[in-house]
């Protein structure tokens, strides 16, 4: 079984984010790291592949500047190889364009199973994996909180408003995972050393046969018009509990007449 995992490389969410003044898009010029949301997909892929003989795990990412540090992290967790699509013309791509690019890269890998996160930390559109599935002509099961496979189909517990559904889906398919689907491992020292020599194929748009005018800022059919401050909440009262904290809350609720 060949499992492909989408790994988005993003600006460190711990660092303060900023928007580019002109385009109002997220500033991605600094070093990028693996989106933590994708660590669950990587771990899930490794575990599923481990259960089916002759399986391999390939990572796919689209990122600027030939960035591979996030991919190295996922390789250090145990994935076998990676495909990176990097091209200057891709700057400013919307989710549909990104899906087209990832679909072209993934198609070549001929996967049985494609895993992505339900949403990325920086973009959180949450639509890309389904767009990808449609472009690949594959079924999809989103919001997986458990996955098992026998190599021919997946059985997924899919989150719903009311609880969850047991969903069965023949492969090939796209599955998106929630955080909590598995506990991601930390790369071991051995894993980190091994990752250094694992292959990363770096592809350009030309390699994928995609016309640069269809993607990136040139192909985007949506634009940010402006950015404004949201209405601020009035400053509240912050008090240190001196044993009277509970009473303060009671008094506040009384004043609102909710108790």
């Amino acid at each position: 079984m060949h499992v492909v995992v989408c790994v988005k490389q993003i600006p460190d969410p711990a660092a303060p984010a900023s928007l580019e003044p002109g385009s109002h898009t997220l500033d991605r010029s600094g070093k990028l790291i693996m989106d933590d949301s994708d660590s669950y997909g990587v771990e899930m892929a490794l575990q599923l592949a481990g259960g089916v003989e002759g399986s391999e795990v390939t990572l796919v990412s689209m990122a600027p500047g030939g960035e591979t540090s996030g991919l190295r992290t996922a390789l250090a967790m145990g994935a076998g190889r990676a495909i990176l699509v990097s091209d200057e013309a891709l700057a400013g791509s919307d989710a549909l364009s990104t899906a087209k690019v990832l679909a072209a890269a993934i198609r070549r890998a001929e996967p049985d199973l494609v895993i992505a996160a339900t949403e990325s930390t920086d973009g959180y559109t949450g639509t890309l994996p389904v767009q990808l599935a449609e472009l690949l002509g594959m079924p999809s099961v989103t919001f997986a909180k458990r996955i098992s496979t026998d190599g021919a189909k997946v059985e997924v517990e899919r989150q719903t408003e009311a609880g969850y559904d047991d969903v069965e889906c023949p492969l090939p398919a796209v599955v998106t995972v929630t955080a909590g689907v598995v506990e991601p491992r930390y790369p071991s020292f051995k894993g980190i050393m091994a990752a250094k020599s694992k292959p990363i194929d770096v592809l350009s748009l030309a390699d994928l046969g995609i016309d640069a005018s269809q993607v990136g800022a040139a192909g985007a059919r949506e634009e940010i018009v402006d950015v404004a401050d949201a209405e601020q909440r009035g400053a509240g009262e912050i008090v240190v509990d001196e044993g009277d904290g509970a009473q303060r809350v009671v008094a506040f609720l009384e004043q609102l007449r909710v108790i």
């Binding site: 984010a17 919307d94 989710a95 549909l96 899906a99 959180y124 559109t125 949450g126 639509t127 389904v130 767009q131 599935a133 449609e134 472009l135 594959m138 079924p139 999809s140 099961v141 989103t142 919001f143 899919r158 989150q159 719903t160 408003e161 009311a162 609880g163 969850y164 559904d165 047991d166 969903v167 889906c169 955080a179 909590g180 059919r221 949506e222 634009e223 940010i224 018009v225 950015v227 404004a228 401050d229 949201a230 909440r233 009035g234 509240g236 009262e237 912050i238 008090v239 240190v240 509990d241 904290g245 509970a246 009473q247 303060r248 809350v249 009671v250 506040f252 609720l253 609102l256 909710v258």
Partner: protein, 321 residues
């Protein structure tokens, strides 16, 4: 605008609240509002859909256990191909809504604007509003390509108001071609029973986070919620940790709540949590870290230990009841 489509989701209790919010907003933006629905019961929800402004509902029919994304999106694409041209498609930000939006986007080759929390008409087109950076800033965007634009809208962005319209006319949607994309099947549904008011409708929400320390302390949150006739909620940290079911999660990937009072206990106030509760009328936060971001939105902040403040609060309220 001439015409807007609303993707209408329904449960056994009728159309979802978010569906009615979208119909209400669509009505104020366009002269004609039409719905797209699926399931065995569409005829029975046509009354409510009409009441909230839909004149027609395209019925995709019973999906026989298939996930809605492929059949619903392909039926919508088939309608567009057959010459139906809404200028906008409003989609609820729900599990199935996002699936339909993604499929439709790829089928029609139109991008999607997601996490929409406001819509403004300008120059005959629509501007979308999106809350970013924990709700401190609003980004406004628009489509520049060919219609229809696809908009995935978050719950509680608009309030639902009935228009007193007559039942929507039910029209069977043409079946689209789903090919191999339609093979995923629901084999069993699991409904997690909840007692008390629903999290996204409760007038009071009491949420707990990692600061509770362990799963058993969540009982204090439930007890406090019960005493206040509210609903218990949670941060994602403790949902991922398996302390409480996902249905309790408040935030970007969970529920959006706008209660009269929101009480956050041992929650740091990450931006993804804030976007789900910042619209609450009054916010109380209990956190031992004075610097926790949750205090920036709190009307009353108690810098203290939840293990001291919560039991005292529960006791004080028990005495009153």
């Amino acid at each position: 605008m001439e015409r807007i489509w609303v993707l209408a989701e329904a449960t056994g209790q009728g159309p979802t609240a978010l569906t009615l919010e979208l119909l209400t907003e669509a009505r104020s933006l366009a002269s004609t509002v039409e719905a797209v629905a699926w399931g065995a019961e569409t005829a029975s929800v046509a009354g409510t859909l009409g009441d909230y402004g839909a004149t027609r509902v395209y019925d995709v029919g019973d999906l026989a256990g298939a996930l809605p994304g492929p059949p619903v999106a392909s039926a919508m694409a088939a309608l567009v191909d057959a010459g139906e041209r809404p200028e906008a498609v409003l989609v609820p930000a729900s599990y199935d809504g996002r699936d339909v939006a993604g499929r439709l986007s790829a089928r029609l080759d139109r991008p999607v604007l997601t996490n929409v929390t406001g819509l403004v008409e300008r120059d005959g087109g629509l501007l979308t509003e999106h809350l970013v950076f924990g709700g401190t800033q609003i980004v406004r965007a628009r489509f520049t390509g060919e219609a229809p634009g696809i908009y995935v809208v978050r719950a509680k962005s608009f309030s639902a108001e009935s228009a007193g319209g007559s039942p929507a006319e039910v029209v069977a949607a043409p079946p689209g071609d789903v090919g191999p994309t339609g093979v995923a099947r629901i084999v069993q549904r699991h409904v997690e029973e909840a007692t008390g008011p629903k999290l996204d409708e409760a007038p009071i929400v009491v949420s707990g986070g990692r600061g509770l320390g362990s799963q058993e302390h969540y009982a204090l949150i439930e007890e406090l919620a019960r005493l206040l006739h509210g609903a218990p909620g949670a941060s994602r940290a403790i949902v991922d940790a398996g302390w409480v079911p996902y249905s309790h999660q408040v935030g970007q990937t969970g529920k959006t709540v706008k209660p009269t009072v929101y009480v956050a206990c041992g929650i740091s106030g990450a931006t993804q949590h804030l976007v789900g509760m910042k619209g609450s009328k009054h916010i109380v936060a209990i956190n031992k870290d004075r610097e926790a971001p949750i205090f920036s939105v709190a009307d009353l902040g108690i810098v203290g230990d939840v293990h001291k403040v919560l039991p005292a609060l529960v006791e004080a309220l028990q005495k009153r009841s």
